[in-house]
């Protein structure tokens, strides 16, 4: 009975909403449906990973540009935040009092200040106060830094560069093979063969040799200082840098807490047993504690990654052209089709979240401790 009432209420609300929306939209002469998708966009985007031009590309193309920008900044943020988060999380557990306190201070400071404020700080207070074009800083390696962004040398690949890539693939495969052999050897004989140097030689040496043999098929086109602009090179927008920095600094604090909780969840007996077996403290951490801690760490770590992806939508505040800024901002303002645009934007984030939680459930199922 109650259920029928709920269905009726929800249905009634939905009907009322749709009815009113249709009424209000027709009054404002706003079209509905995705007819705008193929219309010419007519606005510029400051960072495009795929070919895009204001005069010929469609709104649909702008959507993909925005989505790729979101994924780019989220990807960079996730890599940086993971590295920093693990370092800080383990530092918080350090026996060195100063190191532990320093890491703790970082976590408390960063976690208790809103991300938006940190983002504005990096963008307006740090990056905007870099030198102007005329006083650009020349960084080692030919990079140029000023308040319009960071200009890096652009790699230019010659035709036979593919041999180097091939060599790299072979090298990585060789290192993996070496690792498999070492594990097999360890399990058979107990001897622990040192494979670090051979593996590194395989990963880096092979491509280097291929690089030399192919006649150095790579050169860098350096950014040049022009009178009004910097020409050439790869441009890293200040908006991108600020967003990536803010996201990774902020998320690193949360990842540090996740890592700390995960390591603490491994019972102390494991550490003591490892030490009793004569493992050094680095080995204890790497071979005994972390593999067990990972089981606890990975689920909350994934949700931190999802938070980072969702938080990348703050891009809209500083004008980095991510999905929300391009699509739910500019496209929405031009077309006025709020319902379609917002629904599609939400659907993208929702799809990412749902996909991740499906993968997570698979992982959790795969790593369940086999209880005896």
């Amino acid at each position: 009975m109650l259920q029928i009432a709920i269905v009726v209420i929800i249905g009634g609300l939905a009907y009322g909403a749709v009815y009113n929306a249709a009424l209000n939209l027709s009054r404002a002469h706003i079209a509905s449906g995705f007819g705008f998708w193929n219309n010419t966009a007519g606005f510029d985007i400051s960072q495009t990973l795929i070919a895009y031009s204001a005069s010929t590309s469609s709104f649909g193309r702008a959507f993909w540009v925005g989505l790729l920008n979101t994924l780019l900044v989220a990807g960079v943020g996730i890599v940086l935040a993971t590295i920093a988060g693990f370092v800080i999380g383990i530092a918080r557990l350090s026996h060195n009092w100063l190191v532990a306190r320093l890491a703790g201070g970082y976590v408390e400071l960063v976690r208790n200040v809103p991300l938006l404020l940190q983002l504005l700080f990096w963008y307006n207070a740090v990056l905007k106060s870099l030198p102007l074009l005329r006083g650009s800083m020349a960084l080692p390696g030919g990079a140029i830094l000023n308040n319009r962004g960071l200009f890096l040398p652009q790699p230019v690949f010659a035709a036979n560069f593919s041999t180097v890539v091939l060599a790299l693939v072979v090298g990585i495969a060789g290192a993996i093979g070496l690792n498999v052999w070492a594990r097999w050897r360890r399990e058979r004989t107990g001897a622990d063969p040192h494979i670090l140097w051979p593996a590194l030689a395989s990963i880096f040496g092979l491509p280097l040799i291929a690089f030399a043999v192919a006649g150095f098929p790579l050169h860098f086109s350096l950014p040049q200082m022009g009178r009004f602009n910097v020409n050439g090179g790869v441009e890293v927008l200040p908006e991108f840098a600020a967003l990536a920095l803010a996201l990774s600094v902020y998320t690193a604090a949360f990842i540090a807490e996740v890592v700390r909780a995960g390591v603490l969840a491994v019972s102390h007996g494991q550490t003591e047993a490892a030490q009793a077996l004569g493992l050094r403290s680095g080995q204890t951490l790497r071979l005994v504690v972390l593999p067990q801690a990972m089981r606890v760490i990975v689920p909350p770590l994934t949700s931190q990654y999802l938070n980072l992806i969702k938080n990348s939508s703050l891009a809209v505040v500083i004008g980095y052209p991510d999905l929300v800024q391009v699509f739910a901002g500019t496209v929405l303002n031009i077309t006025g089709q709020a319902v379609e645009v917002i629904a599609l934007t939400m659907a993208v984030y929702l799809a990412i979240s749902l996909f991740t939680s499906v993968v997570m459930n698979l992982y959790a199922r795969a790593t369940v401790i086999a209880e005896r």
């Binding site: 709920i6 060195n96 749902l354």
Partner: protein, 382 residues
């Protein structure tokens, strides 16, 4: 008797406790154990001290020693022969601080805002202190009385002689606190209902609750706010279109309730099954069982998590910025753009002030959550 006297020596009194050996105590030992126990540790300690020496003195100099504390316009904070390298421009904050707190709320009516802050503090203390009497009355006050009282106070009621102050004049910390409080007041009951729905045996309820929770948790708050501010006016008849602040409030409350629901669900899961069965055996109906037996226990164990969610909500209130509501951060942004105060240090000072405000609030709440957690652990151990 003889068995005892056969012993050569028998100690009757316990031995006196000896202090730990000298090399295990004292400041030098502490230093050795905590900072200098191995070569790696010595290097780490050294690096930390270097980092401190590099970062802390310039910060102290900038924010305290070289800071400019008073002045009426930018000249006070610009470099002058008297002060070659002026630090933080606190004079700017002092001049703008009433705007940071009240926004454009009319000067003559600001006592109403102050009264609201007092009423809110009373409610928070009543609820937050675990030893205060009649916390059930406190909850009634906080979740029913306070919202009505605040609405009358802040918005105004011409009937009793309080002129209406439109929300477009509200701003600053007032708006931040209003958004956070409304978010809390609505998200907790909604979250409880959603959590009960998610645990319900009725498939329709379960589906509706799960759908709502997973949907809201899967999308960024900004898109929810956009939805509230752009789509909400479409979904209601034209004459009922809510104003900007109300739209943002609805967005924040719905968003927070999905997160609150998950927290409450965790608390429900922590109540032993026997409690449900015992309540059923006593013949309690579903609502009486939940209200009298399950929820009091569930909310109690999950109070630290509720506070942590609230900290997240408090930080998220800054996002109402993007839909044009003048919260505290937005007023700082507006003030730092004031040409009268354009100096190289205005921006940093404004942000430092904002960061201090948020840090004090959030850190205070997280300390509170931790103390409650410790209290609960002690109570559980007994």
């Amino acid at each position: 008797m003889s068995a005892i006297s056969d012993q050569a020596y028998l100690r009757v009194l316990p031995a006196q406790k000896l202090p730990p050996p000298a090399e295990r105590t004292g400041i030098f030992n502490w230093l050795r154990e905590n900072l200098l126990s191995s070569p790696t540790n010595i290097v780490l300690t050294f690096l930390c001290i270097l980092l401190f020496a590099w970062a802390v003195p310039p910060l102290i100099r900038f924010f305290l020693i070289d800071a400019v504390w008073s002045g009426t316009d930018r000249d006070a904070c610009l470099a002058s022969p008297a002060q070659m390298h002026p630090g933080a421009c606190w004079a700017f904050v002092r001049v703008w601080v009433s705007y940071f707190v009240y926004g454009f709320y009319p000067l003559a009516e600001r006592w109403r805002v102050d009264l609201f802050f007092v009423a809110l503090t009373l409610g928070i203390v009543w609820l937050a202190r675990l030893s205060t009497p009649r916390r059930d009355l406190g909850a009634l006050y906080f979740f029913v009385g306070l919202p009505i009282l605040s609405f009358i106070l802040l918005h105004g009621a011409p009937l009793i002689g309080l002129p209406v102050v439109p929300t477009s004049l509200w701003g600053g910390i007032l708006v931040t606190v209003v958004v956070a409080t409304i978010g809390m007041v609505f998200s907790l009951p909604l979250g409880i209902l959603l959590a009960l729905g998610r645990n319900s045996e009725m498939p329709v309820m379960k589906l509706a609750a799960v759908g709502f929770i997973e949907f809201v948790r899967g999308v960024p708050l900004i898109t929810v706010l956009f939805m509230a501010s752009v789509m909400l006016p479409l979904f209601v008849p034209e004459q009922f279109a809510p104003d900007k602040l109300v739209r943002a409030l609805i967005g924040v409350a719905l968003f927070a309730s999905a997160y609150m629901a998950e927290v409450v669900r965790g608390g429900l899961a922590a109540v032993p099954r026997g409690q449900y069965e015992a309540a059923r055996a006593l013949g309690l109906t579903y609502w009486r069982m939940m209200g009298l037996v399950i929820l009091p226990q569930a909310l109690r164990v999950t109070l630290p998590n509720i506070v942590n969610t609230f900290i997240g909500l408090f930080k998220d209130t800054t996002l109402v910025f993007v839909v044009g509501v003048f919260d505290f951060l937005r007023t700082v942004e507006a003030a730092r753009a004031d040409p009268k105060w354009t100096t190289p240090n205005t921006t940093v000072t404004g942000y430092a002030f904002a960061a201090l405000f948020y840090f004090v609030c959030c850190y205070g709440m997280s300390r509170y959550a931790r103390s409650v957690e410790a209290h609960l652990t002690r109570a559980g151990r007994r």
